[in-house]
């Protein structure tokens, strides 16, 4: 599992990925016209790679850390855990569970994963809840309550809960707590920001949450005052996933060649959906300010323009802002381009995440893991990761972003130190193995096994 797996870049299918292509781009450095190859992107997702085993992580975290993880899990041998969430595919929670469940299982904590079911009406209500808990307006009607409670009851009847630990992810299945019985310990893992929830929706959910034995949040800023203990689990990345594993230099080069990215010149990259909250227009402004002083290319790569009408509008605005500048490379990639994203991050001189609002910001974690000097906005969970001048540069404006680009491009030794620290920070705090350790520690504390 430790050998990099190379994806073959398949021929571009008509209408598959909306990749902005400059057929004849002028190289501003040399003044010559250079031709960009048409990017080739597969229009179907590749088969998922097999889940890594614990031993696969040893070269990354070291034998001593891996031994410690096994020691922590020892008192829990034979205990059973059930994870419950609302979707088996898509989204960060499912992606994380796909990796976490086999790891816990291998540690001897038998872990199963079940997904709740429900009709369209249920998921419309829970989507409303999700947005409302993020602070959006939402009218919680008696019908909405009834739909939520009815579907919860149906799921309770369908599922059994005789495990030692039950972990419920996010608000959709929160009502399953009504099935808690005996000595089992229930944990509510909230992945969303509850700092400013809609009071009606939170008022409806809080009595359920209070019945859990513990809650887990991704940031202290996202938590609520609750009567139960609240653990802090930072979101994490898997260093062996396609998005983060080591890649062969030749593969990175082939991706850059395919996308028309010149590796002989500095590359500044922002990876994110084409979403206003990621401020791609702000990044282009920063590029234009910095470009007066230093030569570099800007890569804006992400998705969201094909499945989100607003994303398409933002992509159009980004294209307009980029104009005919051949050094701005805009790539609207499908969600299965994890290897290509990985290669672009690794090829970058600097990674930028100039979000106006952010959750935890896992794209920042990915960049830090690749030891890239990272410039990121001081929003959401980013300051937890980017400790200004230690693991990256925090910025608060377009001007700040432009200045940091100039500074880091002209002080590469400082960038190297930031990148090195950033990778250590991720290794210590934001890897999948750390997450597995947190879960077994929490189970141990809740059961009194390791208190």
């Amino acid at each position: 599992m430790t050998d990099p797996v190379h994806s073959k870049i398949e021929p571009l299918q008509a209408g598959s990925a909306g990749v902005r292509v400059d057929e004849n781009a002028k190289d501003t450095a040399s003044g010559q016209v250079r031709t960009r190859r048409k990017p080739q992107i597969s229009d179907t997702p590749p088969a998922p790679p097999p889940a890594p085993t614990l031993a696969d992580y040893e070269p990354i975290i070291g034998k001593s850390q891996l031994d410690e993880l096994r020691f922590v899990a020892r008192p829990l041998q034979g205990k059973r855990v059930k994870m419950v969430n609302s979707t088996a595919m898509g989204g960060g929670v499912a992606e994380m569970l796909n990796r976490l469940v086999p790891l816990l299982d291998e540690l001897g904590v038998k872990t199963s994963w079940e997904v709740i079911t429900g009709g369209n009406d249920f998921f419309e209500v829970t989507k409303g809840f999700h947005n409302a808990l993020h602070g959006a307006d939402f009218a919680l009607t008696p019908v909405g309550r009834e739909v939520f409670l009815r579907n919860t009851e149906q799921n309770r009847k369908r599922m059994s809960f005789d495990e030692d630990f039950v972990v419920i992810h996010d608000p959709q299945p929160a009502g399953l707590i009504a099935s808690k019985s005996g000595s089992s310990r229930w944990v509510w893992r909230c992945h969303i920001d509850l700092s400013h929830p809609n009071p009606d929706v939170w008022g409806f959910l809080q009595p359920m949450v209070d019945k859990y034995d513990a809650a887990v949040f991704s940031s202290p800023a996202f938590a609520r005052r609750l009567a139960i203990p609240q653990a802090l689990f930072y979101p994490c990345i898997d260093p062996l996933s396609d998005k983060n594993k080591d890649l062969d230099e030749s593969y990175i080069q082939s991706v850059c060649d395919n996308f028309g990215v010149d590796r002989q010149r500095p590359i500044v990259t922002q990876i994110s959906r084409f979403d206003r909250l990621k401020d791609p227009l702000g990044v282009i402004q920063a590029y234009k300010m910095a470009k007066k002083y230093v030569d570099f290319q800007l890569v804006l790569a992400g998705g969201g323009a094909t499945d989100d009408p607003e994303g398409a509008v933002v992509l159009r605005e980004v294209n307009e802002a980029a104009g005919e500048d051949p050094d701005i490379i805009i790539l609207d990639l499908p969600p299965w381009c994890a290897l290509e994203i990985n290669a672009l991050q690794r090829a970058s001189t600097i990674v930028v995440q100039k979000s106006l609002k952010e959750g935890f910001g896992l794209t920042v974690t990915e960049a830090l893991w690749k030891a890239k000097p990272t410039i990121a906005s001081s929003v959401g969970g980013i300051p937890t990761q980017v400790i200004d001048k230690h693991t990256g540069a925090l910025v608060h404006s377009v001007e700040g972003c432009a200045y940091q680009i100039r500074y880091l491009l002209t002080h590469p030794e400082f960038g190297t130190q930031l990148g090195k620290n950033g990778r250590e920070h991720v290794k210590e705090n934001f890897l999948m193995t750390t997450n597995a350790r947190r879960w077994v520690l929490l189970f141990g504390i809740l059961s009194g096994a390791t208190a």
């Binding site: 850390q65 922590v72 203990p229 609240q230 653990a231 230690h390 250590e424």
Partner: protein
């Protein structure tokens, strides 16, 4: 008569058992956006919070060797933007404290003195509150133990940085002594008085934890 080792030292009667520690973080109720709230929270927060934001800072940010001595200092500098308070808090050395109660007293004293000397700071408010967390520590065995200096050096090379932090930094709270597990064993069981003293002089605030490990090794590899 006990045999001696290649360093000429008698093997220890009590082996050094390397242990490690795994922390789990909890979010506490206290938070602060200004000096008054900080002071109040310092008075009421659990001991685990004082430990987390001082001793544990060095472990969480073990790769940084300057300007990150504790979370309170970092917040005062970067969020509250009270440089004077940040400096005073940065100067706090956890090695001078063998109990959390004393450390808490000192933190409160620093904030109170700064408030008294800087009335204008009363107006300062941070957009980013200081969120008090605490850590619950689970102590773990490791597969490494030593009865000779060579075995000790070998174990030291292989254990995790969590283990170094546990024995070298956290130990003083457990033992209520201004020293560390390594120095105690080296002096008591191997008779390495000078080396034990030198280990205690390693500056944990100007080194990374990996750097601390290197300095300990350098000190011990000179023996014999």
């Amino acid at each position: 008569m006990p045999s001696t080792t290649s360093t000429g030292l008698t093997p220890a009667r009590t082996p050094f058992e390397f242990k490690s520690a795994a922390p789990l973080l909890f979010i506490e109720r206290e938070q602060a956006s200004n000096l008054e709230e900080l002071l109040q929270a310092l008075q009421t927060c659990p001991d685990g919070s004082i430990f987390q934001h001082t001793f544990r800072t060095l472990e969480e940010h073990h790769f940084i060797k300057e300007g990150f001595s504790n979370d309170f200092a970092h917040w005062a500098y970067t969020d509250l933007r009270e440089v004077g308070l940040g400096e005073r808090l940065t100067g706090l050395d956890v090695r001078e404290f063998t109990s959390i109660a004393k450390l808490r007293e000192r933190l409160i004293q620093i904030v109170e003195e700064f408030r008294a000397a800087t009335p204008s700071a009363e107006e300062s408010t941070s957009k980013t509150p200081f969120y008090f967390c605490s850590s619950k520590i689970t102590v773990l065995p490791t597969e490494h133990s030593a009865t000779t200096l060579a075995e000790f050096i070998d174990g030291l090379k292989q254990v995790s940085l969590h283990s170094i932090h546990y024995h070298f930094i956290e130990a003083r709270l457990r033992r209520e002594l201004e020293t560390n597990d390594f120095s105690i064993w080296l002096r008591r069981d191997l008779g390495l008085e000078q080396e034990a003293k030198r280990l205690n002089q390693i500056d944990i605030y100007t080194s990374t934890l990996e750097g601390v490990r290197r300095k300990i090794l350098q000190t011990l590899q000179k023996v014999g």
